[in-house]
Amino acid sequence: MQFMLLFSRQGKLRLQKWYVPLSDKEKKKITRELVQTVLARKPKMCSFLEWRDMKIVYKRYASLYFCCAIENQDNELITLEIIHRYVELLDKYFGSVCELDIIFNFEKAYFILDEFLLGGEAQETSKKNVLKAIEQADLLQENIDFQMRLFAGAAWSSLWCQREADL
């Protein structure tokens, strides 16, 4: 896969993930042109199109378009299901995901994508395993926070004891 874009019906880009090296200028140009092309397509049309020298696979979920550019020999149908699996992952994580979740927690959307796809290839297709990885990270965060508080408290109290002893 060369890149994945999420954009709204109004053409606002919500997430972009590039797996090939391109300059910012090129990325912007591709995004602008591709969003236009995809938005111009009618609902019943096929989900695949040849665009420049890539194959584009896209699908609309509610107000969001998920759009992937794949290599010529890549499988279109399985890419369509990559999109669907990603939507499922977001849905499970946020609990009935909507566009706003992705806007306000864009960093999470990126983290989940990284657990699922890496370098443009599927890394882990099991829903359970991907969510476990994300969950673990969240728990880790909690633990560290907890430890930090404990540690900070301990340090403070020992200082306090010291002061008391001095007096």
């Binding site: 880009l13 997430l15 972009q16 090296p21 090129e26 912007k28 009618k42 019943k44 049309m45 096929c46 989900s47 695949f48 040849e50 020999q73 499988n75 279109e76 149908l77 399985i78 369509l80 299901e81 990559i82 669907h84 699996r85 499970k92 994580y93 946020f94 609990g95 979740d101 806007i103 306000f104 960093e107 999470k108 990126y110 983290f111 990284d114 890496l118 370098g119 443009g120 290839e121 599927a122 890394q123 882990e124 297709t125 099991s126 829903k127 359970k128 395993n129 969510l131 990885a133 994300i134 969950e135 673990q136 990270a137 969240d138 880790l140 965060q141 909690e142 560290i144 926070d145 930090m148």
Partner: protein
Amino acid sequence: MPAVSKGDGMRGLAVFISDIRNCKSKEAEIKRINKELANIRSKFKGDKALDGYSKKKYVCKLLFIFLLGHDIDFGHMEAVNLLSSNKYTEKQIGYLFISVLVNSNSELIRLINNAIKNDLSSRNPTFMCLALHCIANVGSREMAEAFASEIPRILVAGDTMDSVKQSAALCLLRLYKTSPDLVMMGEWTSRVVHLLNDQHMGVVTAAISLITCLSQKNPDEFKTCVSLAVSRLSRIVSSASTDLQDYTYYFVPAPWLSCKLLRLLQCYPPPEDGAVKGRLVECLETILNKAQEPPKSKKVQHSNAKNAILFEAISLIIHYDSEPNLLVRACNQLGQFLQHRETNLRYLALESMCTLASSEFSHEAVKTHIETVINALKTERDVSVRQRAADLLYAMCDRSNAKQIVAEMLSYLETADYSIREEMVLKVAILAEKYAVDYSWYVDTILNLIRIAGDYVSEEVWYRVIQIVINRDDVQGYAAKTVFEALQAPACHENMVKVGGYILGEFGNLIAGDPRSSPLVQFNLLHSKFHLCSVPTRALLLSAYIKFINLFPETKATIQEVLRCDSQIRNSDVELQQRAVEYLKLSSIASTDVLATVLEEMPPFPERESSILAKLKKKKGPGAVSVTELEDNKREGGELNGEGDRGPDPAAMASSNASTPSPSADLLGIRSAAPVGAAPTSVGSLLVDVFSEAGPAAPSAAVNDDGFLRDLEQPTETSDSLLVEGSGDSDSASPSEDPAPPLSEADELLNKFVCKNNGVLFENQLLQIGIKSEYRQNLGRMYLFYGNKTSVQFASFTTTVSCPGELQSQLNASDQTSGTTGRGWSPDPTGTQHRVLTDFSDAPLLNIKFRYGGALQNLTLKLPVTINKFFQPTEMTSHDFFQRWKQLSQPQQEAQKIFKANHSMDTEVLKAKLLGLGTALLDDVDPNSENYVCAGVIQTKGQQVGCLLRLEPNGQAQMYRLTLRCSKDSVSRRLCELLAEQF
């Protein structure tokens, strides 16, 4: 999911995002962003050290702003600081920022790599994964240099956690894709292959992408993967839908892994081991069988996953192309999909069937679906599906159905989308030629093509029809008749006029017996189109007219009349003017015999490969046309053209021009037709005649054109005859006055010749100086023709060529003769020879002295020898071009100029100029097709200077930006100066 995941703080970020969302206008948004940027900047610069949380929050805001499409030029350092935080989310945000906003700042890269190194060696799997994700996301060369040897170790180490293995495999894949030279194969490779046996399906899924990519490049080292892949596939295919637990997707067991396994097998030929092969065939049969079973779920995900595997299996079957039974089954399965209600499946079935059509085993089976495919072409509502249908029709076409398919494609063309018309035209043209049994059908088809979609008929197509008509005498009469009828339409396409002009010029005599198409009627019909046509077409028509004079002497007076009128003979376009003058002269001075020889019917074209096919291949990439098809075409092409021999490119038919190299097609081919040594009609004299207005001059000193071109190295041998003696009388009468300083307009005159080699250098009331020059490597030779415009003889006519100042050491300019002229009208060429020693920027001076009516005339011109004349065009691919462009990145190697357009910005004109410059004009290099990119090497005696050029026109502003990069900085500057005057 726990609330903590969404609410782990960063309230400020949420507030900022809602603020942005509430902005009513773009301006308000920018204002809000600028305010935030100022705030963040002051926080980062402030004295107070920020805590990790604030740093994370601000970095995240910057990231958000960047993702909105704004530029971010700070915050990288703070993000890098986050990498070494031991709080997971801070580290995570730091990595995310780095992945999205990499900066090639070397100091920063060092710090980032350090942080990654620490995390990789932390033995904390979550940290290791974060670091690996970052490497995979950035994938830069610097990272490859730092980690390409480390990652394989992590990947195959026994104690690595599964999740880390998965990340490491794909991380390595990314590095291998960006910097294959840095990833060394080694002892780890065999262990990687064995990951296909790993118990963890996730590890297999990740590893197989890496293995596939590596096997494509090193098939032998990885060939053990075939049997492993087959057994893995067999286990998945035969498993019940619940066996694989979470790797089952909508009742389909491991669809991603299955597809990837089938894909991997496509890197190899069918397994040699009978048992392995048997097992694989069994798998493929099971997959085909499953497609016939009733679906286990109504969900589209189920059928998509199942069919994804099916299509991949069919690809493998086609790749093997050795199991007739499977191929036919695949074809039948796809046939069912052709009428499926899912557009996606119809699309894929058409696409996949296209490749099936090229297999000898399934070609016939594919053909049985012709009616369905034609129907798809007519009724599909989605253009991309129609395009696939057209592709399939093209692929399934053979002698038995060619007429039907071509007819359908032609009728589709009338309503086809503009985006695919050109390709359709090429395809119809190829099919018509390939399967033409009777050539009247072929001619009809191509003329129809021009009628229906003239704008999309490229030069290759009409060149081709002419080549075929010329090479096959059984179709010439029919072609002349048909084209004559087609031209009678009130509005006909210019391409039709071109074909018409050429064919009637060659074969108009075959239909001249019919009073309805008598010579004069033919001529008037052609000439009625003349004024509506572009310059190249008019040039072609003029050639057709002179051919008419030969074919039909009775039209001579009428045509001479036309040629003589001001709009021809004084046309502002040099090419047209020259042709009109030359043809007029030719028709009035040459005897019928000479005329008949010069204007003889074109000889058959030597054949190589259809230029149309070449064009289609170029358009679609090499994979688009199958090998069998190419071979097919060669065979049929040979038969079609009657000639076995494969000579130079047929497109060369358009390039035999009388004198100046010009973009317009000359179909006469005077140069090759004229017998060598027939002085009165040789090229030299034609050129010379332009300069003498109405003289009887039959120049005795005609240039032997062949010798001129060939013998640069030993010029005296062939040029003796023309560079006659005469130095004697110039010596004696040489005025003793010093040469005059160069004329004020000398530079301007010089600039006219940057992109061309021949023409009139100078003209005043007395004298006209013509120039003809030829360059090869670091040698150049220039002929000067002096025309006396007065009725009196010039006395003491001398010319001297000199190199001022430092030019002496840069350029050897030797004056071959000092040709003098005192003989009234007859012009006398002088030769000068140049040898470039190194690059130069000044031009040699030509001083001319003579007496006219007693007064000494003394004028000095600059000879148009410019550095670009010594260019050798260099063709290169886009990749090479950019690599070299990068290599020439020192600031002084680049010269750039932005300037206003002084001349027409027309594409063809620009292209002609750039070609005239001597460089190779490279297509498909610049991502913006409006721009021009050229490459060439300047040959000097001592060294070669590589030059790359980019010209970016801005039609709206009528401006250009010109950028040059040369391996020598003085050359960049000089070329930039020279060229800025040309456009």
